[in-house]
Amino acid sequence: MNLTSDQQILWQHGFVKLNGTIVTTWAMMIAMGLGSKLVTRKLKTEGAISRWQGLLEIVVTGIEKQIQDVGLNQPKKYLSFLGTLFLFVALCSLCIVIPGFRPPTGSLSTTAALALCVFVAVPLFGVRGQGLTGYLRTYTEPTVIMLPFNIISELSRTLALAVRLFGNMMSGVMIVGILLTITPFLFPIVMTALGLLTGMVQAYIFSILAAVYIAAATQVHKQAVSKAPPSG
């Protein structure tokens, strides 16, 4: 039994290979891009709007509000990254209701890729927010002794992000697959519904944790500056 869709090799040429994870991800990308293009093609700026436009506005403004609630005062700067994280993971979780669909987020490679993206994005946003030295100084907070611990914390939380999402998504799919062989009737449906719930929760957790990491990286220096006595 394949644990992940990575092992479904569709095409391979040396190191380069095309597996199920990549193909489903492309399908998800095409669906999301085309859906967005179709919905935003006829946006209305006044009067009654379409239901799809209303839904997307609710989703976008909801994500924006969540980012703002985390502490990022300019949510539009982070909306593309964090919103895409949430939408991708959430849509992958929703698609488990499709029979035979194996979500890309059930692959540790995908979750590791997402966690790596967060791992890279956090210092990028931090450097953009408070400069290179300002960001690097956060690793020595509160004292220099904490530098290795901070680095370990940065790496471990990336690993935790990847494994948490992978474990939850993969376990849900695996449980449904196992139960289908034992009790092929009602119980897998209940577990699928539960998997939908946990998938949405994991999407929210993943996005919020990424936002919290970015907020921590961009605001530590500001807090230090605000605590410093006024000069001059």
């Binding site: 946006l43 976008v60 909306l79 692959s107 590791a112 890729a113 790596l116």
Partner: protein, 294 residues
């Protein structure tokens, strides 16, 4: 091995492409649409606020104009009421003055009519009295009125007291022109002669006489010289007759045009005795001698 590093790299690349796709086709259009709608709503709210402010301003102006209009209307109404009151007073005064003038004119006309009627009655009565007396004397005594008047005048001359006679004699002596004997009717030559003789005898002188028929002026016979007069007339009778006629006229009901005045006159004036039933006071025959007295 759970992690395929090529897949990791590919998925990271896929994720970045997805980020760009969603940014291009989802976030930016949606956020732009939301911003445009919010801007439109803000514009509409600002427009509504501006219109509300304008409406409140216009309402304030309208209320101020309305108040000014009410005050102006009240002032105009008061002025109109005062003007109407003053005009009413003027009209009433004018009407009252007009009524007074009409009443005065009517009273004057009535008085003139009464005077003219009295004169007419007096003249007619005098003529009738003389005619009746003449006819009565002719029928009963076979004497003419002129003859009897002359006789009475002659007798009166004889009955004059000494002082009156002396006064008249002095006047005759002082007169440069002939004395005048005026009568209401033509005196026959015989009567003229009788009167001439009586005057000559009375004043013991040849009195020069000039006879005139005075018509309406004298109600009998009158002898005058140098401002002194002596005569006989029926003026007393006529005066009495005139008084009774006045009483009759006063007893007549007022004209229909002024019933209130007639009523007031009937109320205020005492009832006059009926001239037919009341005892007639026949005045004596007037014989007057004096300067200008008749």
């Amino acid at each position: 091995m759970l992690i395929d590093w090529f897949t990791v790299g590919a998925q990271a690349l896929n994720f970045l492409v997805l980020v760009w796709l969603l940014k291009r086709f989802l976030y930016k259009p949606i956020l732009n649409a939301i911003d445009a709608r919010e801007k439109g709503i803000a514009g509409q709210l600002a427009d509504a606020d501006a219109k509300k402010t304008e409406a409140e301003k216009e309402q304030t102006e309208f209320q101020a104009k309305n108040k000014a209009f009410d005050e102006q209307r009240t002032a105009l109404l008061q002025k109109a009421a005062a003007d109407a009151g003053a005009e009413r007073g003027h009209l009433l005064d004018d009407a009252r003055a007009e009524a007074d003038k009409l009443r005065s004119d009517q009273a004057i006309a009535l008085r003139n009519d009464r005077t003219r009627l009295g004169n007419e009655i007096t003249r007619t009565a005098k003529d009738e009295v003389f005619a009746i007396a003449r006819k009565t004397l002719t029928d009963l005594a076979g004497a003419s009125l002129e003859e009897r008047v002359g006789a009475v005048f002659t007798r009166r001359l004889g009955q004059m007291d000494a002082q009156a006679k002396e006064t008249m004699a002095g006047a005759l002596r002082a007169a440069s022109e002939p004395a005048l004997v005026a009568s209401a009717f033509d005196l026959p030559a015989a009567q003229r002669a009788t009167i001439q003789n009586a005057l000559n005898e009375t004043f013991s002188a040849d009195v020069r006489l000039r006879f005139e028929t005075a018509g309406d002026a004298i109600c009998g016979i009158e002898f005058s010289s140098n401002g002194q007069k002596i005569g006989w007339s029926i003026e007393g009778y006529l005066t009495e007759l005139d008084r009774k006629v006045d009483e009759l006229l006063d007893a007549q009901p007022a004209p229909a045009s002024s019933p209130s005045m007639a009523a007031s006159q009937q109320k205020t004036e005492p009832a006059k005795p009926d001239p037919k039933t009341a005892p007639s006071k026949r005045p004596p025959v007037e014989v007057a001698v004096g300067a200008g007295a008749r």
